[in-house]
Subunit: 337 residues, 4 copies
């Protein structure tokens, strides 16, 4: 940690700062410049990270040097880990394609779409039973009935299923039916929920919040790992910027940056990321090219009748085309589909 | 709702669109231009807001005309409403000042600070018992013990208390001790939580999420009102932008815009908004000048020992100065403190 | 154009609005709803785009329906055009790689790097002679001397050269030496400069400003085309967002969106886009996968001695590796290098 | 400057880094931690600011400690300076109100509006003769004729005039007619233009770019001062964020931050900042409350006929009301109007 004093800081203020550092059991190295003094703090930075040293009079800035996360850090494992969803491994050589409708709407719908995407090459089935909707007047999902339909679709298709958990109180029922939990972008910093899924036996896909930095995302994952659940996938799904031509700004820069920072596998969701059906495939290809371990995209057999997000869903045949094209790019970067 | 077709849209696609609108019981007015056709949909827009018309082939864009919120709309009440927290009215002529430490840390701390701020002019005491912290390794709050201390501080100072609820499962205990519930920025779109506080008898202060548009904030408030709880305050507390000189960008533009859009009273939190102790007072003055109904700011008697956010807390005497200066600006805009 | 009135709009205000539309020679279709009236304006929208109809009392919102650009619109040409820089065609099947140092520093440097990248597969040489630097105390470029060195490097390597123009007064000398003009991100809305390069015989690469929407970028390109110069390339080079882990946020979403909107070829600059040397190649691959027509990236033979942006430059051997990997992805998406 | 090495950095890499620092004539203090080594560089930071030390293998991060600006720094003068525009002093106790139409359109218009605003309390007349417009098809200003009309309006009203310079080639004619130069937001990093106005005898108002950080703004001002022109005003006029309810996000946080960082007086432009006529006055009051030295706002006598930005212009009587309300808030914060 590097502390810089203000030009007008007094000797007493500096001494007080040094005393506080010493009290915490750490060593301070002081370099006096013409206007400002720089104090380097050596030792276990987490001991003083929580001390509001910037509140000490005379202090201008406090800059941490070490990363605030431990368990999610790449150093912790040395390489990308493999997370298993059902019997599908995410994080290995194979790029895993997850797909399905935004919401589970009926048995026919989820089983039908499940069959189509399985045939086309999807390895995991997604579908929302509990839906976080911006408006209270929008369809809120089928709840437990939706979970049961998901389980039926798994039985019919052989695809493991992933579905969103929004409320700690729903976790128990979701665990009965799902193979992987999804924490949505809007709940990325719902720390109560993170702790709960951290205690689950199921793997968790954590979506990046719309205004979450990469560091914020890693800190939220750290919550889950710190509770004992190391089977976490990170999902880039678009951030909020000033651009209005796209629904969100899919931030593919996050893919190589995360790859260098963490051992957790990386999923990219081009559907929400760009939010324009005609461009989902392009963004899926880009995601694979820059290193994503998995792609999640939405498919619907009748988008104009979908109960949510129909305008960004691919038709089954468009999805089949996406898979074929992803396959080629995957091979070009030494991966498989 | 205005629907515009693509230049290449066929007559069949247009007809199909018109059929869908008719099915929904609405009237369509068609204006044919050289390249594009414009379809104006007349009638109850909410009927078709949920229909993914943009998913219909040949449709280029769908633009809603009416506001997606009803209960929170200013039209609903015609003027700013008054929300009572204990016996303090927010939304009237008086600008209400809410203050206290970020976290409740001990009896001495919360009662001590409570007394100081009451003397200086605060009308409501804030303090966190359940704390949403970015890191799992940071202080997470005293929980129920913190709530009890808050209630003791209320007894000692006469100030009603506001505290954050993060988890629906904590709501019952919080309701026993608090006078107002706070939903934090990170939970602004935790819809499960919004529904729960919507069923509470207590008033709710809803903080704007870091990447929430003003419309998003209003839609989240709509969740609470739609469950029956009309005692909602909206709190602007800074949004996330590219600027790094300040912790967040306090968006005061939201104050007059919200005032025109909704009847809910508006609180401004300059402490989190700018995140720099030395500038909190300036932003509080600005908030009052542009129409805020209440100010929330953090105070600590020993910021460098605070268990959270010490670097942005005012000292009690700085807070007393803030109140005096707010008073003058309040009078200049025809309000009182 | 769609105009919506306020709930409190009077009949006179509506009539006045309709009169203004009529005066402009356009036809208005009026749809009266319960609270608001919707006026659809049919006809040449550009006639009234400039009229501040939103300033008319009683008007709530004015929403244009048609695109504000004409010459850059994809409809204008129907497909991506080909722009020639020297004898290199950008916009065809071949993905063109442009490379070179940030700044021209010396004959040895620019010729040396030019040779290395030509051997590795670059088709165009970049190098700044006039440098837009954030600080007045930073290296500002060699000016005309730099231009001459660029021309020498072209003679030695056979690569056409592209260089930035910052000031209309420098244009004449730059035209003597360069094959393509670059307008930098900071000058994307320097309209005087855009008009000047619009009158040049040389092709122009226009970089997207850090806070420019895709529409803004197209409007700036429209300035150039409207002066008669149709040889324009658009370059995505990263936008400014809240993320601080990367220098900018390379917005690859812009690639397919631009491809659908315009006939101008699209260049992606991963170097400035992500700003982290170790991740430039990943982003270049992603850019090619989602449809870029050209890649621009910076190379230096001794980054730690570079006079500008050394920290994001690739070494020549890293660049050679990038080209090989780009080649494979290009083939996977049906292109060549 | 603080340099942190990567965990895998070798002893040779560290030594090479230290050699480079020594070569530059600076002193390095090395603190070795368990994983990373921290190198504090003592001495004139600007010597090495330009060296791309981050490009040295083994270096993880380079963090400057000192501010990159000198002449604009508050330390340089110790207090807010006073800049005179004609005989009007900006930066003193008086809050100066600048107003006028967006564009000069005719003699009658500019003289008429000038008289109205002078009567209401404006001290400086604004009006654009050269207009930076997003579209090439929009009104581009009257040019030199507009300048002459401005000078006539000055003669009629006694108000000094401020007008925008977009192109270095126009500077000479503008200097003949204007009392203050404006550099617009889109040209904030047009460094050629900054250097030119830095050599002018006239004061300069520099507007903050839409995606410029506060530091960027100060660095652009540093360009002007470094050429010898110390009469610079900084203008906050709204930044670009994700919010769409307002045209821009007026960032009032910048006011107290700039006040602490620089001696240059601060102008706030609520008209462009919020972009909604009905809320301009609220934002003007807020700007004064948090410390602005001047307010710039647009007025038009017939907004619906304005050739630019009519939708955000105040009517003369609304402006007169703004001045009266600003006056009261100014007094509440110890200033005058």
């Amino acid at each position: 940690m590097i502390i810089v004093t203000k030009p007008e800081a007094t000797e007493e203020q500096l001494q007080h700062l040094l005393d506080r550092i010493k009290e915490a059991g750490l060593k301070a190295e002081v370099s006096r410049g013409a206007l400002r003094t720089i104090v380097g703090v050596i030792g276990a930075e987490d001991v003083i990270r929580e001390m509001p040293l910037a509140a000490i009079p005379g202090v201008e800035s406090v800059t941490p040097v070490l990363k605030p996360y431990k368990l999610v850090a790449r150093e912790f494992r040395g390489q990308t880990g493999v997370v298993k969803i059902g019997d599908v491994a995410v994080g290995g050589k194979e790029i895993v394609i997850m797909s399905g409708p935004c919401s589970v709407e009926s048995r026919a719908q989820i089983v039908g779409i499940g069959r189509e995407i399985a045939k086309a090459g999807a390895r995991i089935l997604r579908g929302g039973a509990f839906k976080p909707r911006t408006s209270p007047y929008s369809f809120q999902g089928l709840g437990v009935d939706g979970l049961k339909l998901l389980a039926e679709a798994r039985a019919e298709t052989g695809l493991p299923v992933i579905t969103e958990v929004m409320d700690p109180r729903d976790l128990e029922s979701i665990e009965q039916y799902a193979d992987c939990l999804q924490v949505g972008a809007r709940n990325m910093q719902n720390f109560s929920l993170l702790k709960e899924v951290g205690r689950s036996k199921l793997p968790v896909m954590l979506k990046r919040g719309m205004s979450a930095t990469i560091k914020d995302l890693l800190m939220s994952a750290e919550y889950i790992l710190s509770e004992g659940n190391f089977n976490v996938l990170l999902c880039e799904r678009g951030i909020r910027t000033f651009e209005t031509a796209t629904r969100n700004t899919l931030d593919l820069n996050a893919v190589p940056v995360l790859q260098a920072e963490t051992h957790l596998p990386i999923v990219v969701d081009p559907t929400h990321g760009i939010g324009l059906r005609e461009h989902v495939t392009s963004m899926a290809l880009a995601a694979v090219a820059c290193g994503a371990d998995a792609i999640m995209c939405e498919v619907h057999d009748s988008p104009e009748n979908a109960k949510s997000d129909g305008e960004q869903a691919l038709l089954p045949h468009e999805f089949a085309d996406l898979v074929q094209r992803v396959k080629k790019v995957a091979e070009a970067v030494g991966r498989t589909v």
